[in-house]
């Protein structure tokens, strides 16, 4: 994307003239605010930024961004982003989606966009419910969750989004929380800076149909003890007293207290977001409250050529190879194979 003239833009520049239409108190407001705050940092002129969304409450975000925006159809945003980025490598493409949009109807496109390493930054608003359609179960709803479509509780094992995208070899994987503004901004910043398919899960509160879905561990009062903020190259420490940590026992992570029965800093699992092997992310993604603190931060960030880069490479390569044989002549192309002339 062009870094050419670096215009000094502010949050205001990224606010559209549409008034925002989410329920009062919805977590989406904060996500929108952080998005608008983060955009100026990339030094990308706003006409080169595109927000593509599917359908859902989350899907309305592009209307509120004063950039190019495309509110597409349910579950297919990733496919449109794939075509757009392939056609226009110069653009910065963001995809906004929900847990139903990305994991239910859109699950297949998600996997394939990730394995292709399409250079898009996908933010998934995970509220563990279908908001726009007024409260049905989503693929992240916990077993037993009673919703309009599951009055006796769901009977389906939920999908762990980050484990799934790791299986699809996503090159950037992160998680944050709607109300943890600074952290969310940082994650957006990191996602935006990554070259390749970035997947950012945002734990979002739907106060109307699934209020408090994450509160147990995201609440300000408890988050230090119940969430683990991953930091690259640092041992996994958490807790209000910063005295708890994660140790690996074989493949099994376990919670330990530093100083207690001989556990020292050195024993802790040190995070490495650049670990080429996605296994680490898959283990971290399974850590969940109350057994574990819930990890947030950048799980994975590995370099890999993007889909559009590889596509262009092939084209440039083919052009060069062809150029060696002289200029391309369409007339010749049409006449390829046996021809004959009638006088």
């Amino acid at each position: 994307m062009t870094q050419s003239e670096l215009p000094v833009l502010t949050k205001k520049d990224f606010e559209s003239d549409q008034d925002v239409r989410w329920c009062p108190g919805c977590g989406d407001y904060s996500i929108l605010a952080q998005t608008q705050k983060t955009m100026p940092n990339f030094g990308v002129v706003k006409e080169k930024i595109v927000f593509i969304s599917g359908i859902g409450c989350s899907g309305r975000l592009p209307y509120y961004m004063n950039t190019y925006g495309f509110h597409t159809i349910h579950g297919r945003a990733a496919t449109i982003a794939t075509g757009l980025k392939a056609a226009r490598p110069d653009l910065m493409v963001w995809v906004i989606t929900g847990d139903g949009d990305a994991l239910s109807i859109g699950g297949n496109h998600l996997i394939h966009a990730m394995r292709r390493n399409v250079d898009m930054k996908m933010i998934m608003f995970n509220n563990r419910i279908y908001g726009l359609t007024k409260g049905q179960a989503s693929p992240t709803s916990p077993i037993g969750k009673k919703t309009k479509s599951t009055p006796l509780g769901t009977i389906e094992t939920p999908i762990i989004p980050l484990n799934l995208v790791a299986a699809a070899e996503a090159s950037f994987i992160a998680r944050s929380v709607d109300t943890h503004s600074e952290h969310l901004q940082e994650m957006m910043q990191r996602a935006g800076e990554h070259s390749g398919a970035a997947f950012l899960e945002v734990l979002q509160n739907c106060n109307i149909f699934n209020d408090g879905a994450w509160r147990d561990f995201t609440d300000k009062s408890v988050k230090e003890d119940r969430m683990l903020v991953l930091k690259h190259g640092e041992p996994m420490i958490f807790g209000a007293e910063k005295n708890k940590g994660i140790r690996l026992n074989g493949l099994q992570p376990e919670v330990v207290t530093i100083g207690e029965n001989g556990v020292s800093l050195a024993d802790l699992w040190v995070h490495d977001e650049t670990d080429p092997d996605a296994t680490r992310t898959q283990i971290l993604s399974r850590m969940w409250w109350p057994d574990f603190p819930v990890p947030v931060g950048v799980f994975r960030r590995v370099p890999r050529p993007t889909h559009d880069q590889l596509l262009i490479e092939q084209i440039e390569g083919a052009k060069a190879a062809r150029a060696a044989k002289g200029p391309v002549d369409l007339q010749k192309l049409l006449a390829s194979g046996e021809t004959w002339t009638v006088k």
């Binding site: 950039t67 509110h71 496919t79 392939a86 596509l311 390829s336 046996e338 021809t339």
Partner: protein
């Protein structure tokens, strides 16, 4: 009359003006290759040719089995022809199964050339012959030529140090050699091909060359053929020609469209028979800057095409019936956001998976109406393999100038059938370029402010300063393009979307009529039925019938001159390879009592069938036909 005039002297020559040959054998016998070699040589010789391959759906059915039979039919003539011929005059049958499957189509008294070596007990049983048809009387009434081809090539290839299996594989070139002699064709083209194809594999190349010559020599020296045949070159209009299939012409047409529009071409597609070859061919044009993606499914494919179109490229997708069905919802989005897009549906026999390799015209109504709510889209259809080139460019011209998705309806027959194509002069082709909306200083850009003439909205692509805006699938406020639930606005926008497509009719050529502008019968067709209808009409006219032919390339919107045209005929007959899809549109729009002729057998109409149907109509009794 095209069968050998028996009794004539050996070496004598019979003049014919048209011959239809079918090469048939096991999938492993290389019949498609043999057919295309004969085609290339025959086209080069200057005949007008039309071909129709017919291979089994199974990847490779068991050797010698009936489903394993692969056929290739070629019709060539000294006059111009429009179809691969109703029924072959000559059948080359490499094994019993091939004979069994194809005998029924052969004209009475037609010639049969068989490889007797393949007529052993196992093969006869596999083909379901109680007894050897070569031995009993069942082939009386045909001219049977029995040649031990395997034996002959074995002899010819001695000393090349090839396995007998390898040698056996050359027998199709032997058969080809025989046919070359029989129809006075040169072996040069095929020899060249062999040299290139088997470069490095000298023994193999030599074996095939020898087999070819052995076949030719066999025709010349043996007594078995009493004559050979001459089909003089046709008088095609001057120009440089090549033989081309519909899929090849389609792919080249899109390459040309991109050149004429001066925009990048982007294809996202999911493989499906019989459309895959377009993806394959365009994928091989990376050096032309064409971007192709094999998507995870048909929805992703059209999604990516829409994304590319949104970005200012010529985004397109190719598919066949079942895949087309999956694109419905995304096509609806394209209608709502009014982006240019071309969707190719190479129709095949349905419903559902149906008969994937067979042809049909069953997707017209799906293309017209297969989306939620009123969602108008222009639909066009080429009439012949070569015409796929022109219509591919037309599809893009309409899409770009009217800012709309366009459906391009080909079918399996057009896609795999071939005909000589007079290669156009690239320099002569008109530009179809359109401009993007220009950058703007002042606020308040209106993404749905329409061109007063075409009602097209501006193409405001990301990256353009000052035009930042949002679009989507929700109803839009007229001009402004913001989300609107206003009842009257919704009604107005629906009318505008419909009118925009209707106005495409201002922008298409008048409908040609072949024959008188008034008469007893108008045969109205579309798509690949062109050849059969035109040939039938030629015959009817030659018998003095007041019959004319009109063939629609533009199915939505319909040409404005059509209504008048229909009024000028006593009867209107509409042959379609479906249950009467275009007929329904015509009847509804013009309240004309068009009569249908509908056969869905997975193959083209035979000229004779249309002729007969027309005759019956002319002999009144329109009722019966209803």
């Amino acid at each position: 009359m095209t069968t050998p005039s028996s009794g004539s002297q050996h070496g004598s020559v019979t003049e014919l003006d048209r011959v239809t040959i079918r090469f048939a054998g096991d999938s492993g016998d290389g019949m498609q290759l043999t057919g295309s070699q004969f085609t290339a040589t025959t086209a080069l010789f200057g005949n007008d040719v039309s071909t129709l391959p017919d291979y089994p759906a199974e990847i490779r059915a068991p050797a010698g089995s009936l489903p394993g039979v692969s056929g290739f039919q070629i019709s060539f003539s000294s006059g111009d022809i429009h179809t691969p011929g109703d029924r072959p005059d000559v059948l080359v049958a490499m094994n019993p199964a091939a004979l069994k499957v194809n005998l029924g189509d052969l004209v009475p008294g037609g010639a049969i050339i068989v490889n007797t070596d393949a007529f052993n007990d196992i093969n006869l049983r596999k083909a379901g012959f109680a007894e050897d048809p070569l031995k009993n009387q069942s082939l009386q009434g045909y001219n049977l030529y029995e040649i031990p081809m395997s034996t002959m090539v074995a002899g010819a290839c001695e000393g090349l140090g090839l396995s007998s299996k390898q040698v056996e594989l050359t027998k199709n070139f032997f058969a080809l050699g025989v046919m070359f002699w029989l129809y006075e064709r040169s072996m040069a083209g095929t020899e060249k091909w062999i040299a290139e194809k088997f470069a490095g594999k000298d023994a193999i190349a030599e074996a095939n060359r020898r087999a070819l010559h052995a076949g030719y020599a066999f025709g010349e020296t043996t007594e078995i053929f009493h004559t050979h045949y001459r089909v003089a070159a046709a008088h095609l209009p001057p120009g440089t020609y090549r033989n081309i299939t519909g899929n090849e012409a389609t792919a080249l047409g899109f390459v040309m469209a991109s050149k004429l529009a001066e925009r990048d071409l982007f294809l996202a597609s999911y493989p499906i028979t019989p459309a895959s070859d377009i993806l394959h061919q365009l994928s091989s044009y990376k050096h032309l800057g064409i971007k192709t993606v094999q998507s995870e499914d048909e929805i992703a494919a059209i999604g990516a095409a829409v994304g590319a179109a949104y970005g200012g490229a010529m985004g397109m997708t190719t598919t066949s019936g079942p895949g087309m069905a999956l694109k419905a919802e995304m096509l609806g989005l394209a209608v709502m956001v009014e982006l240019p897009l071309v969707v190719v549906d190479v129709q095949r026999a349905g419903p559902s998976t149906g008969m994937p390799t067979k042809t049909e015209q069953g997707d017209l109504l799906m293309s017209m109406f297969g989306r939620n709510s009123d969602s108008p889209i222009p639909v066009i259809a080429p009439a012949t393999p070569a015409e796929c080139f022109t219509m591919a460019i037309e599809a893009w011209r309409i899409a770009l100038h009217h800012m709309t998705p366009v459906v391009f309806l080909s079918d399996a027959f057009l896609a795999t059938g071939a005909e000589p194509w007079s290669i156009p002069n690239v320099a002569d082709l008109p530009s179809i370029k359109v401009e993007n909306a220009p950058a703007s200083e002042k606020a308040g850009f209106r993404p749905y402010q329409r061109d007063p003439e075409t009602l097209a909205r501006p193409w405001a692509i990301p990256g353009t300063p000052g035009l930042e805006h949002r679009i989507g699938g929700l109803e839009k406020l007229d001009e402004l393009g913001t989300v609107s639930y206003d009842p009257d606005n919704h009604h107005r926008m629906n009318l505008l979307r419909a009118e925009k497509v209707a106005r495409v009719a201002r922008d298409i050529p008048p409908t040609e009529i072949y024959g008188e502008a008034t008469g007893d019968l108008l045969i109205l067709g579309w798509g690949s039925t062109y050849g059969s209808i035109r040939s039938a009409v030629e015959r009817l006219q030659s018998r003095g019938k007041r019959v004319s032919h009109a063939h629609l390339r533009y199915l939505n919107p319909l040409p404005t001159d059509l209504g008048e045209m229909l009024k000028n005929f006593k009867h209107v007959l509409m042959p379609e390879l479906n249950a009467g899809q275009l007929r329904m549109l015509i009847r509804a729009k013009y309240l004309v009592d068009a009569v249908g002729f509908n056969l869905v057998r997975g193959k083209p109409f035979q000229i004779g069938e249309i002729e007969a149907k027309a005759e019956s109509l002319l002999g009144e009794s329109v009722e019966a036909a209803k």
